[in-house]
Every structure is written in structure tokens, then in C-alpha cells.
Assembly symmetry: C2
Homo-oligomer: 476 residues x 2
């Protein structure tokens, strides 16, 4: 994939200092009202609406309310349901066209999380920044609209309405709606112990965008991270993030049907942990979600770490925009799912965690593995192949712990406050993962084809029979 | 109707100076991007999507796109259509609960304009102002949400999702969606010459809100109008405006089916003339809309006039929020419609203009009649009964021009820039309308029962047979 040339304001007749991201004080999914505040503010709606069975002419129709990606409303006609979602936010990239695409992909992602492939209609929500000059407005807004529309075209849907207001900050988003037969969507509440968690896009979009803003506009802040990434790497990660965010999760949604998804959500403003927590609360079965791997845009884990608590990327709380789907599936199916998504779209998906018996909580293990991810020249998104010859990795003697005699994964302690340190002791870009050759039930061969880094876990009740394949232990 | 007691910030634990309307720089429907700018920005969508026939399994399905209140999307199932609308804006009243109701009523109004009675789902869009303190936020936002929800309850629908973001300005709105059979909605494109135009709520909501803000917070501006209205009148018109805006157009929509609406729109940010122009452009037949009467919240015409070109109320360009429906109907049916709406809801509706042959333009006549409207103690909205004993009206010798030998109504000149002057010479609150006794085909008796002020016009081609009933001419 040729790099999309950077948005040049001057080429568009604007001042060279024009930055779309200056038209807001908050960026992308990070503009969400904090989850606990939101729940407090929305408590008027009560829990009763949250999820309820709805009797409709003798049929039990699912109904899903506030809190999840997409609401499901039983209709008066022939067992049909209305699935609907809305999302809007502020610019987090400076390329208006890409910003439009990202906004559209982000709205549709909520539908895809429900397995909905056909969006019957989109509305576009637009806030035109009152800070824009007339010239800027006439350049920037049509570009954003075109990006939004082009993305809708790719998704096979169209935009037939919306609302446009003046606002201090530039604002873009939309509403997606689909009327579906029962087999056209997947309720996100059927995870069972033994399932694994799949993620279809890497994390770190917010970190990449903010780091790029620092490089571009805030030398003092850039100085905090310039020993971690150089300018070229920063530009690359920003570019990668833009394309990752503008990509549709449509194939991911299609394959959820083929490989039997038990429920999914998409990762946006509350970070992977926040959305995992939302999803696990929806479950009919008493389960927990345990996240072991964090696929991140290359270098973003290190940047986040260098910034202390600012991003929360490694804690799973860093906001994402138009992130991947987080899907619960049987682990055998998950492997096939990842293989197939790669075959169709070229992009990698990752098995990042497990579903076990529990009390409907989600957490990240104490020492999650960071999987570094980059976009290749052909435009596909892949885990970075293992580095086996670096000075540091040569100092590390990997101890393959397969099969494990002892459970490797903590099952009870909360997400550690010392996670940074844990990551520090195991810089993932240097994990010599190619040394993993063990197989478990013949599945690893397939899984290592998928991403070269996946941990496959067999989880019985209480982890009695837990085994980890490919878990790497460091001796330093 | 007992007056709703004024929102008292101190009773809610807030500073006595707290004003919701300070959390925005623009207010209500006035936040819309100007119509011509919007059309320019949206031109990417092309006219092709604007309205097109859509062939669907042998059926011709209507499809309505950007520009009208509600989009109509043919679905894949059984001749069903998806009708959908969105609207959001900024606080224009200081009572958070009423603001929530208004926002909800405003969204639903778009559906009602299409004759849709049942809204299958609502999403709520919320921008929590970053200017609010935590205390303010925890008081104000739940009140707004409750108002929104209560209004949705009255409308028989529910809110099952939405998006909440932080924003410099407080923002509230929603998305309404209905899946309809063909007979459940009315396409707004079938006006024919000879129809009349009905309006279901008075104009002047923006003027009333702004005047009240001046009284409350801007003594210099208040001084400009304090000779026109006193404080009590200002409080009353503000209170009336709040209730008018929070009222649903649902009965108005129901009766559109019974009395054969040929098409309708609701009056919001572009003012009555702007929305009339939008509606007339949608028509299949070559028609014009001519507006003769402007029902306005009491005193608002005079306030607007005193403020020069600021509001455009008399020019039909003053923004409204959650305004009335503007409906094209056969005139006989319109009379029955107005009678029935009054019977059911208690509120008056007005015949305000005519549909004639033309080139799809809308205009207000040079000297429109201002109908002063107030909310009575029982909560119903009515034209103010004629004042026959004022000093001024006693100076005026009404000349009943019925039947006219000459056409009374201009048919070609644009809306006059001197309309203020025209109104000035005919202060409507003093129109001795009770002197109108002429009948035309026996209909006036019925019409004067409706509002006491209506002009009924019989319009043939080119006004060859035009006759005005009840047209009052002043000799000064």
C-alpha cells in the first residue's frame, strides 16, 4: 500500500498551520463521558430497560437497551427487529477526508458487533466548528462529508439524512439502522466458559494520534517520547492508525455468523477493558473475561508506558476510535475465524483472552503480552515478526512452558497496578516467539500461522486443566 | 393551566445565577447552519438522492432523502419502509426538564410531519457541557434526560440508546425511527392548486426566548423592547413558548390521515418561510405556497419589529424550535381538521395561506396578517379575541372586501422588504375581526368558529376567480 500522502492544508488553499484537530478540545472516542458518570446520569432509565425479554405476538423477542453498542427493538411486523446505533465525536486526525471515513466506520462498527451486515440507512451528524473561517469551512466540511459517504458506499449503505449544526468544536458522526430478521443479527450474550476472545484490530489508535500531535505541535511533550520513537516511526504509526480506524469491521461481522460468535462488542471510547466489562455484564452465563494479549500498533505500548498513567493503554482503558470487534467464540472456531479473516481481508486478528466461569467481570492479567502490530506495504495489518537476533533477546533465555504443569494465568487478583513494570521486564517486540513449537491438540500449528504470537489456552472449571501453549517465560 | 413555577437554580442546590442557556453560544433551532451554506456543503450527495422512485419487487416505493424532515427508505421486507429523523441543538430555555421535553418533541415533530404516529425507537444524543461544574452536571443533566424521557413516554415510544459526549456547549437531541406500512405515512409531495396551508402552532418561540434572556441578563437589550412588553408579559410569552415547544404534534399527525393531508413539514430552524420553501420544492405538481397569516405568540411580532432585522419573524425567517406542522389540505377538509384538533387537544390551528399554480416557490404576502396568540389558563393555545373598543381600532373603519372584485393578494412580487411597515399600519391585535360576517359558500361561519381570524380564499387558475372572505382593509 502506498502511503496516503499527508493532508497538506496549503494544497487546499488553507494556511499551512491549519489543523483540523485544533477545532476541538477532545479527540475521537476520548470524548465520551466517563463510564461511571454516564451510568449515574442515565440511571433514570433504570436497569429494567437494559435488557429484557419482550413478548411480541407469542414470540419472545430480544430487546437490548442503553449501554450496549446497538439497541434491538422488536417491530410490529413478522418477527422483524430494528437494530440501531449512533456515535459521534471530534476530529482526532488532521486529514478531513480520513476523518469522515473514520466517523462512518465507527458508527457501522456498532452494527457489525451485532453481526449486522446490511445497514439499511445512515444519518450523518455534523457539527461545523464556529472556529472555522468560511474558506476553511468550505474546504474541510465537504472533504469530511465525502469521506463519510465513501465509507458508507464501501459498506453498501447510503446516507439519506442528518443534522448539521454550528458548534465550537468540529463534530462528526452518524446513526446506523437496520431492520433484520432473527437470523441476521447475533445477540451478544451467549459466551460460555471455554470460549476465547478474539480481537480484530490492534489497540493504540489514541496514543498514535496524540503522539503525532505532539510531534507536530507540542515540542515539550514530544521530548518526553522522542527517545522511544523517532519522527518517522511516529508518522508511520499515525498513518497506520488512520487506516486501521477507517477500516470496516464488515468481514469480521460476516464471519461471526459462519464461525458461531457467542457475542461481540466493538472497542471505542472506554478502551478494551471498559468494553469487555460492558460485554461481560450482558452475559446470560456466569462468566468472566480474562485478557492475556494486547495487540498494539507498533511502539505505542512503549510510548504509553513512557507517559505514565496518561493513556492507560496497557491497563486497557485507553480510548480507541473505530476499534476492532471483541468476539467470544469457541476456541476451535476462533482459530478458523482468524485464518479466514486473514484470507479475505489480509488483516490479522488475534486471540487475546479467555472466557471462564465467574461473576461477570473482565480484567487484564497482571503481565499481558504486548503484540506489536504494523501495517505492511501491501496495506495489511500484521503482527511484527519476531526479532531473534537483537542484543536483548539474545540475553533472554526463553523458557517454553508448554504444557504447563502449573496454571500460568492468574485467575483472581485484580489487574495489577504494576503492569508497566511487568511489560518492562518483557519487551514484547523482542519476544522470540518463533521458538514456540509445542502443539496442543494439534492446534498450535494452525494458530501460529495466524499471528505467530497467540496464546491458546485450554480452560476447564477453575483452571484445573489449564494449559498454556507458547507462553514465554523470561530469565533475566 | 397553572403556570409551571420558574426553574429556580437555588432550589436545586445551584448558584442563583446558574443559567442553562449560558452553556451555549447559540440557541435552539437557531443553531442550524444557514440553508444555502448547508446546500452547498451537502452538494456531494447530489440531487439524485433527494427524491426518487425506488423499484422494489415490482412495487414502486417512495424514497425521500436529505433536505426533508424524515427520510423514507424502502426495506427488504413486505413493502415496509424505514422512516427516520434526527435533530439536536442547544438549550434555549433555562429549565432543564422543559429543555429535555422540547428536544424530544422536536425530534418527534419530524416524524409527525410525515403522518407517522408510532415511533418505534428513539436514541438520545447528549452533549454534556464542559463548562458545568460537577454539581451542576449532576443536577442539570438528569433533569434534561427526565424531560426527554417523559415526553417520549407521552408519545408512546421509548429511548433505548444514544450517545453522550463532552462538548463546550450543552447539546441535546435525538433520533426517531419508525418502520411503517405504506398507509402509515404520508409523502409530503401531493399539494394541488386550491389547497390551503394549515399551521398547528404559533410562531415566535425564538423571539420569546431571546426577549426573556434580555430581561433576565441583558438590561441594555431589554431597554430596547421594554416599551413594547412589560416584564410580566415577557415572562408569560416565555412560559407560553416553553409549553408550545414541548407539546407534541401527534394529534396533528393523526388527523392528517383523517382529513387527507397532501403533504406537511414542521417548522424549525429555517423559519416558516424556509420550511415552506423546502416543502414546495418537494411537490410533484407545479404549485406555489402563499402565506397570508402569521399566528404569533402574543406581542412577539411587535418585539421582533422593534428589533429591526434581527429576528425576521415577520419575514418568516425567524428560527423556531419544535414548531407547528405546516400542512397542505383541501380547504374544506382543512376547516374540519382545525375544528377537530381543537376538539381533541383544545389548541387552535390556523389556515394561514393558499396553494396556487406556480413554479414551486413559497412566499409571504406583502402585508401578512399577524394573529396574536396566547395560552389560556386552561393550557390551551388560542388566538386572542378581537379587541373592538381600543382607541385605535375605533379610529379604523374596517372595509370588508368580500367578495373582492379585484384580486386582493399579490401573486408575483417577492416578499416585501417593507413588511414591518405594512404590519405597522395594521396592528393585528386591534383588528376588529368580529365585524367579518360575510360568508363564502357557507364556510366562513365554520372557519370563524375555528379561529376568528382566518382568511379563506378560493383560488382558481391565475386567480381569475379569486375571492377573499373576511379580508379587512384599513383606512387611516
Amino acid at each position: 500500500m502506498a502511503l496516503r500522502s499527508k493532508f497538506d492544508p496549503e494544497l487546499q488553499g488553507l494556511s499551512k498551520n491549519f489543523r483540523l484537530t485544533k477545532c476541538t478540545g477532545l479527540h475521537g472516542g476520548g470524548c465520551k463521558v466517563p463510564r461511571e458518570v454516564l451510568q449515574k446520569l442515565l440511571e433514570d432509565f433504570g436497569q429494567s430497560q437494559y435488557k429484557e425479554e419482550h413478548f411480541m405476538g407469542g414470540m419472545i423477542m430480544p430487546r437490548l437497551g442503553i449501554g450496549m453498542d446497538t439497541c434491538v427493538i422488536p417491530l410490529r411486523f413478522g418477527g422483524l427487529s430494528l437494530l440501531q446505533t449512533t456515535d459521534f465525536f471530534y476530529p482526532l486526525v488532521d486529514d478531513p477526508y480520513m476523518m469522515g471515513k473514520i466517523a462512518c466506520a465507527n458508527v457501522l462498527s456498532d452494527m457489525y458487533a451485532m453481526g449486522v451486515i446490511e445497514c439499511d440507512n445512515m444519518l450523518m451528524l455534523l457539527g461545523v466548528s464556529s472556529k472555522l473561517s468560511e474558506t476553511e469551512r468550505d474546504v474541510v466540511v465537504p472533504l469530511m462529508i465525502r469521506g463519510f459517504k465513501d465509507c458508507a458506499d464501501v459498506a453498501g449503505t447510503s446516507i439519506t439524512g442528518g443534522q448539521t449544526v454550528l458548534n465550537p468544536w468540529c463534530l462528526i458522526g452518524g446513526v446506523g439502522t437496520s431492520v433484520c430478521q432473527p437470523n441476521e443479527f447475533i445477540m451478544p450474550d451467549n459466551a460460555v466458559p471455554g470460549d476465547v476472545l478474539v480481537l480484530t484490530k490492534p489497540l493504540g489508535t489514541q496514543v498514535a494520534c496524540v503522539a503525532h500531535q505532539w510531534l507536530d505541535q507540542a515540542a515539550d511533550k514530544w521530548n518526553r517520547i522522542k527517545l522511544i520513537i523517532n519522527e518517522e516511526e511516529c508518522e508511520k504509526s499515525y498513518h497506520d492508525a488512520m487506516f486501521i480506524m477507517s477500516r470496516l469491521n464488515r468481514t469480521a461481522a460476516q464471519l461471526m455468523h459462519r464461525y458461531g460468535s457467542h457475542g461481540a462488542t466493538d472497542i471505542t471510547g472506554f478502551g478494551i477493558l471498559g468494553h469487555a466489562q460492558n460485554l461481560v455484564k450482558q452475559q446470560r452465563n456466569e462468566v468472566n473475561f480474562i485478557i492475556h494479549n494486547l495487540p498494539c500498533i507498533n511502539k505505542m505500548a512503549a510510548v504509553a508506558k513512557a507517559c505514565g498513567a496518561m493513556f492507560g493503554l496497557l491497563q486497557g482503558t485507553s480510548a480507541e476510535t473505530s476499534g476492532g470487534l471483541l468476539i467470544c467464540m469457541q476456541r476451535e472456531e476462533a482459530a478458523k475465524y482468524c485464518t479466514e479473516i486473514k484470507k479475505i481481508d489480509g488483516h490479522q486478528a488475534w486471540i487475546i483472552g479467555i472466557v471462564e466461569k465467574g461473576d461477570r467481570t473482565a480484567r487484564i492479567i497482571d503481565k499481558p503480552r504486548i503484540i506489536e502490530v504494523e501495517t505492511l506495504d501491501d496495506g495489511t495489518v500484521q503482527s511484527i515478526p519476531p526479532v531473534t537476533t537483537t542484543r536483548r533477546s539474545s540475553q533472554i533465555k526463553p523458557q517454553i512452558t508448554t504444557p504447563l504443569k502449573q496454571p500460568r494465568l492468574e485467575t483472581s487478583e485484580p489487574v495489577s497496578a504494576h503492569m508497566d513494570q511487568a511489560v518492562s521486564s518483557a519487551p514484547s517486540q523482542e519476544i522470540p516467539i518463533t521458538t514456540v513449537t509445542s502443539v496442543h491438540d494439534g492446534e498450535v500449528a494452525e494458530l501460529t500461522q495466524i499471528d505467530g504470537t497467540v496464546q491458546l489456552l485450554q480452560c476447564g472449571d477453575q483452571f484445573q486443566q489449564q494449559q498454556a501453549v507458547g507462553q514465554v517465560q523470561y530469565q533475566q
